[in-house]
Amino acid sequence: MKDDSRILELLEEDGRISNKDIASMLGLKEKEVEEKIKELKKSGVIRGFKAVVDWRRASRKKVMAVIQVKVIPQAREGFAKTCLDISKDKRVVDAFVATGEYDLLLFVEAETLEEVSGFVTERLATRKEVTGTNTHIILSQFKRDGKLFADAAGSRLPLSP
């Protein structure tokens, strides 16, 4: 179990790290690492691998928003069904049920502001259990998925004793 979480930590930092490097850093055999990762994928602990992209530096821009949603909990399902339904929209990148004034917290990415607006008016506002939304358009970002988007400050001499 301890090995599992250490492997997961390394993969969370760098999804493209080789099994060989994981093995040497954790003092395991490459084959063991391969097996464990296979298990972790199979059991749904590892849900996928993806790049952390700073779209502002890419040629194609994206609009990002954090949307808080107020929902009337449904019989038997609470917030789960609503959250899952909304999550199926491709524009939703993260979806959480959370404590506080609002019930759902959605991270949305789209090509244009109109698309975000469309999502709110057509996908959220039209649902009868949704009683309110609060949309925050992201102005700038400094860190995502554990990666800082700022260039490293501070400098060291290239050689020192």
Binding site: D21, S24, M25, R156, L157, P158, L159, S160, P161
Partner: protein, 389 residues
């Protein structure tokens, strides 16, 4: 006409310095030549430093350093190192451990003495001995002994003129860590021949594989003949703050203080205030060590996968001392060509004394990404080299 001291002129520049100019000319290099942490100073220490400036704590301190800091250091020495030191007259705060080294030699040596320096060694030991008008006597540490100095080798080099032995564990540049029995052997020799031991313990917290650090000053009958040097640079990513400390008998500290008060007056005040928070910063050290450990294994195993190169996985510090003897090149030639042809900077082993010839020092105080890229480049360099032959 400008005149300079013949004596000083005769002392060579550090091998690192020579190489520095070559590296500075190049762009897009990955440098594994760094000798300092790549982490920021822990937040509690930074905050305390900022607060010290805001509170106008910017005057000199006592020559010895802030008493409050010396008291905290005394507690630390007791708890972690088994060393009892009176904070009033047995601890001196210095401007980095570099100053503490210089003071140590000048405080205990008279001209004509000899100091045993296990090699490969930190670049300042020999010059500091020269500055004290004495002679460093190198004792080679061998790779087959995990770069641990052997008491029997020290014994062979003890003469009537020998005054002191340097102990540096964990070691820069080799990453070697001395075992308790090694230190016991050295202590025995020191007692038998009435020698002082100067123990440089700057890397004590950067230690891996459940190895344990021992302070020779805590050994029986060693308290009065040991100068223990330490500082905040490596454990707390504190290099630019320039702060170290030294503990020894009241007599030795008094002599060191005499020099210190004339040449330095006191260590940087702001840095001393920042250092007051070192105990609160321990968890940062722990995180750094965990990361160094991963990089250490990554670099060592990567190097051992490259035909023609090899290294032992070091137990301490943040250096791998890699063996390049199979290439047939001198360490300087190898480092120069690696820089020019592969864009990777390392420090040639001979910068640390003759017994470092045939090795290069590679620091893993750089990101894992840089280590991977450097290994790729070194691999390609070695493959090209192999084809040529």
């Amino acid at each position: 006409m400008t005149k300079v001291s013949k004596r000083v002129k005769g002392i060579p520049f550090s091998g690192i310095r020579k190489f520095f100019d070559l590296v500075s000319e190049r762009k897009d290099i990955i440098s594994l030549g760094v000798g300092e942490p790549d982490f920021p100073t822990p937040a509690p220490m930074k905050d305390a430093g900022i607060r010290a400036i805001e509170m106008d704590y910017t005057a000199y301190t006592s020559n010895y350093g802030l008493l409050e800091l010396r008291e905290k250091i005394a507690e630390k020495l007791k708890r972690e190192n088994g060393i009892s030191a009176n904070p009033k007259n047995q601890i001196l705060i210095t401007t980095g451990t570099s100053e503490a080294l210089d003071l140590s030699f000048r405080a205990i040596l008279d001209p004509g003495g000899e100091v045993i320096v296990p090699e490969p060694s930190y670049v300042s030991y020999n010059p500091c001995v020269w500055f004290a008008h004495c002679k460093p006597v190198p004792v080679p540490m061998k790779e087959e002994n995990q770069f641990r100095v052997q008491p029997s080798d020290i014994k062979k080099n003890i003469t009537k003129k020998t005054k002191a032995i340097i102990v540096a564990s964990p070691n820069n540049p080799t990453g070697g860590v001395l075992k308790k029995e090694d230190l016991e052997g050295i202590a025995e020799l020191a007692i038998k021949h009435d020698l002082t031991v100067i123990s440089d313990e700057l890397y004590e917290h950067l230690i891996y594989d459940n190895e344990k650090h021992y302070s020779i000053g805590s050994f029986k009958n060693m308290a009065d003949r040991t100068i223990t040097i330490n500082g905040f640079s490596k454990a707390y990513a504190f290099t630019g703050w320039r702060l170290g400390y030294v503990t020894a008998s009241p007599e030795i500290i008094e002599c060191m203080m005499k020099i210190h008060q004339y040449i330095m007056l006191s260590a940087p005040t702001i840095s001393q205030h920042a250092a007051l928070k070192f105990e609160e910063s321990k968890r940062y050290t722990k995180e750094m060590v965990e990361e160094y450990d991963k990089r250490r294994k990554l670099l060592a195993s990567g190097l051992n996968d490259i035909p023609g190169l090899s290294c032992i996985t070091p137990k301490g510090a943040f250096y791998v001392f890699a063996n390049i003897k199979k290439t047939g090149m001198s360490s300087e030639k190898f480092a120069e060509r690696l820089l020019k042809e592969a864009g990777v900077a390392v420090v040639p082993g001979n910068s640390f004394g003759e017994s470092g010839e045939g090795y290069i020092r590679m620091s893993y105080s750089v990101s894992r990404e840089s280590i991977k890229e450097a290994l790729e480049r070194i691999k390609r360099f070695m493959e090209k080299e192999k084809k040529k032959r």
